[in-house]
Symmetry: C2
């Protein structure tokens, strides 16, 4: 498997309107896109730092995974996404090695990516996403 | 403030000897350094993915911050470190804007960096590190 870089870091926040000014005014980053991902019941805001994006995630539904994450652990880093060449093959490879998958086949994510999550029980607690540009 | 890239992502693990083979065998990364940081009571293992390092953190003391993090939340992503040009000036700048600092002045971290942490209460739950090569 060839992981080329950290594609993005997902960060759970209660409210984008409150969090975006922190990233812009304090850290000096620029929010370049806001996108709703209905499938994951989140509204996302994107920033770029070098090769990597920060993806803020605000839940749009109280029963969404991100809402439950915030309820249990508070706001904070939610997942880590690696860019990979050949996401389907990579999924098969990690599955063959015994990693539990959340997504058995890739599905559409924000920013036109094909994405799939590995289960944190198999990844030492890190909710891990593999993704590839379509 | 000029954040150039994600310098590293800190990941808390109970045991490096168990976690390193996951990163090497499953994700195909290479552990290129192991270093003890006495100051932070951790043993660290480093991997590189594009511009960014993954820094696994195993606590060396049951009363260390990383041990307490694992006790409370389990293994997982612990902190996010941005590379910045001029870490002292950047600290002053965020402090002036009302951000609570864990480190008022930079201190030596792993890999010969000058580092300082911002308090997660001021950063929407993300334990945030600013760092710069000495």
């Amino acid at each position: 498997m060839n992981l080329t870089h950290i594609e993005h870091i997902g960060i759970a926040v209660k409210n984008l309107d409150e969090a975006i000014p922190y990233y812009e005014t304090i850290l000096g980053l620029k929010c370049y896109a806001i996108e709703e991902v209905a499938d994951q019941k989140v509204k996302t805001a994107f920033f770029k730092v070098g090769q990597t994006k920060l993806e803020l995630l605000e839940p749009t539904d109280a029963n969404s995974p991100v809402a439950k994450f915030i309820e249990k652990r508070g706001e904070g880093i939610h997942h880590l996404a690696f860019a990979v060449e050949g996401v389907e093959k990579a999924l098969q490879e990690v599955s063959d090695k015994g990693v539990r998958l959340i997504d058995k086949i890739p599905r559409p994510g924000a920013e036109g990516l094909n994405i799939a999550f590995l289960h944190p029980k198999s990844t030492f607690g890190v909710l891990t996403e593999l993704c590839e540009k379509k």
